[in-house]
């Protein structure tokens, strides 16, 4: 079943008439050049941008499946949002940052909340530096903490805006695997999914089930990575000649 169905979603000046559906268990990669509307699409799905159109979120309780009618706190429990750049104004410990993920549940101090926080830290492998201050960590370590904060809220849908930008290969892999595992929870009976904006087309081809190619706020191609990357419009959209090796599995995209 579709986890989220987007119909003719528009954000003035940024996104126009976007329709797509994310199946439960799926990782959907949104690709496209800078300014193509990827971030705006994720933000409007997270409820941060006013938008027109219909968004049906099927993991929500009956009667509240229209995203616009979902109370903000319920929405926050179901949808986790990881912004493009994260920072903490205060020098908090890793454990305290991850604990903020429980704010929508109001149970950060309870046993249940503590268990969720601990699980999230284990998943992202940050438990061994839980007591360290966030500003003393490397960029890669910080990225894991920010994602652990999202995991602590145990959301059904994760919206991640370029979660691997500026990370080295190992950290990129760690983040992508963690997001994949989140979508895979669907097999355990809880419908989950991930939508992420990505700049690295090879990473997108490797880790996403389907891709959504955007340009100027409009979807130009949607489907399995092989199909989207084989789209003849791809070089024109990115504004440079590309060589796409489809014999490779997953496909490889390089500037020609």
């Amino acid at each position: 079943m579709a986890l989220i169905e987007v119909e003719r979603l528009s954000v003035t000046g940024r996104v126009a008439d976007v329709s797509l559906a994310l199946e439960a268990g799926e990782v959907l990669g949104v690709i496209g050049p800078n300014g193509s509307g990827k971030s705006s699409l994720l933000k409007s799905l997270a409820g941060l941008l006013p938008c027109r159109g219909q968004v049906r979120f099927n993991a929500a309780p009956r009667g509240m499946r229209n995203l616009a009618e979902l109370p903000p706190e319920t929405r926050a429990r179901l949808i986790g949002y990881l912004p493009q750049s994260c920072a903490s104004a205060w020098s908090l410990t890793v454990a305290n940052i991850v604990a903020l993920g429980r704010l929508p549940w109001r149970d950060g101090e309870s046993e249940q909340g503590q268990a969720a926080i601990r699980r999230a830290m284990e998943t992202m492998d940050v438990l061994h530096f839980a007591g360290r201050k966030i500003d003393r960590l490397s960029g890669g370590e910080q990225a894991r903490v920010w994602l652990a904060r999202v995991f602590a809220g145990a959301p059904r849908l994760i919206l991640a805006d370029e979660p691997v930008a500026s990370l080295d290969l190992r950290f990129q892999q760690g983040i992508m695997v963690a997001l994949r595992r989140h979508a895979d929870e669907t097999r355990a009976g809880v419908d989950c999914g991930v939508i992420l904006a990505l700049h690295d087309l090879n990473l997108a081809a490797r880790h996403c089930d389907r891709l959504c190619l955007m340009q100027n706020g409009v979807i130009r191609a949607f489907g399995p990575p092989e199909a989207v990357l084989a789209n003849p419009a791809l070089p024109g959209i990115f504004g440079l000649p590309l060589r796409v090796d489809l014999r490779h599995d997953p496909p490889v995209v390089l500037p020609a």
Binding site: G47, L48, Y81, C86, A89, W90, S91, L92, L103, R106
Partner: protein, 335 residues
């Protein structure tokens, strides 16, 4: 994490103990040192009119309670505003409320407004002034974005400051001007219980308003987008925080004039005690602020008799070096 829980639980009782100790000292210090504190308080409560009861009930107790309430208000307001603006250098005066309160009170001295209110007139006019500047600031800022709020507060403060200077310039007589200047310097002396009756409700109301925004303060540390995505209404919550802080600052400036640096300094002292968590900063900041102002006022009273040093000047004299040290430390981080 268990360790931090134990220490954070011990912090509040510890701060309360320090506060009680300072309060006891403050009650014991005064112009007539032989006054027995406990006996005086007992007599005052029992309604007996002994000399000790008069000294305690009419002079020292109101003064100490006022110092505590002013300190708590400024500490709370500072902690909340620094959390909202995510800026450790934000001073409660940034809302424009303190300049507005000063202007309101100055107008009373100048135009002799509300004569029927007697000594309370400057304080009430101060509250009105704080309210007006606050509304002007919120209207000018329009949104809750931290940088716009700071700019709007600065603009409104500047206007109120210019108006205040004008009032001083055209002061009708030198005595009114002197009275006004001394009032502005900040003091809790010779105020009496009616002032406390004005400040205490403001402290309770402002405190409750800020206390209800703890979750927003916690989430805002990660930015407005994250806070919104966690289901919090930043716009509305920010307005409540500004309102609560302005109420606290406006009320305390109205009754005690400018007591500088407390709102700026206190959250920095409290932060290490709560692992820098903005939502846990409120109560410790209130307690430390109360302790500091009561201690400073006791210090003022311990100075040799003669012309009394205003407590607002003492806190500024102590606070300014702290501020310089803070800038120095920040500079070191960026080197």
């Amino acid at each position: 994490m268990a360790g931090t829980h134990v220490t954070s639980r011990a912090i509040l009782p510890g701060l309360v103990l320090v506060l009680l100790a300072v309060t006891a000292c403050a009650l014991a210090v005064g112009a007539s040192p032989a006054t027995p504190v406990a006996e005086g308080l007992r007599d005052w409560l029992a309604g007996r009119t002994t000399a000790a009861a008069l000294v305690m009930g009419e002079i020292r107790l109101p003064r100490v309670l006022l110092a505590l309430a002013v300190g708590a208000s400024l500490g709370l307001a500072g902690a909340a505003l620094q959390g909202l603006l995510r800026n450790p250098l934000a001073d409660p005066g940034l809302t424009g409320a303190s300049q507005g309160a000063a202007l309101g009170a100055a107008s009373v001295f100048y135009f002799d407004l509300f004569p029927q209110l007697g000594v309370l007139a400057p304080a009430l006019a101060g509250l009105v002034g704080a309210g007006v500047t606050l509304c002007a600031m919120l209207a000018l800022a329009g949104s809750s974005r931290a940088d716009v709020v700071i700019l709007a507060g600065l603009a409104v403060s500047t206007v109120a400051g210019a108006a205040l200077a004008t009032v001083l310039n055209f002061s009708p007589n030198p005595f009114a001007m002197q009275e006004l200047v001394f009032w502005l310097l900040g003091s809790v002396a010779d105020r009496g219980m009616p002032y406390l009756a004005l400040l205490f409700p403001a402290l309770c109301l402002g405190g409750v308003i800020l206390w209800r925004q703890r979750r927003l303060l916690a989430a805002l540390g990660l930015g407005e987008a994250v806070a919104e995505s966690m289901g919090l209404d930043c716009r509305r919550g920010s307005r409540w925080i500004i309102l609560g802080a302005a109420l606290l600052v406006g009320a305390s400036v109205s009754v005690a004039g400018n007591i500088g640096f407390v709102g700026l300094m206190v959250p920095h002292l409290a932060r290490p005690l709560v692992s820098n968590r903005p939502e846990r900063l409120l109560l410790p900041s209130a307690l430390i602020g109360a302790t500091l102002v009561a201690a400073a006022d006791t210090g003022v009273r311990l100075l040799p008799p003669g012309r009394e040093l205003k407590v607002g000047i003492l806190t500024s004299l102590v606070g300014a070096p702290f501020f310089i040290w803070f800038v120095w430390k920040e500079r070191g981080q960026w080197r």
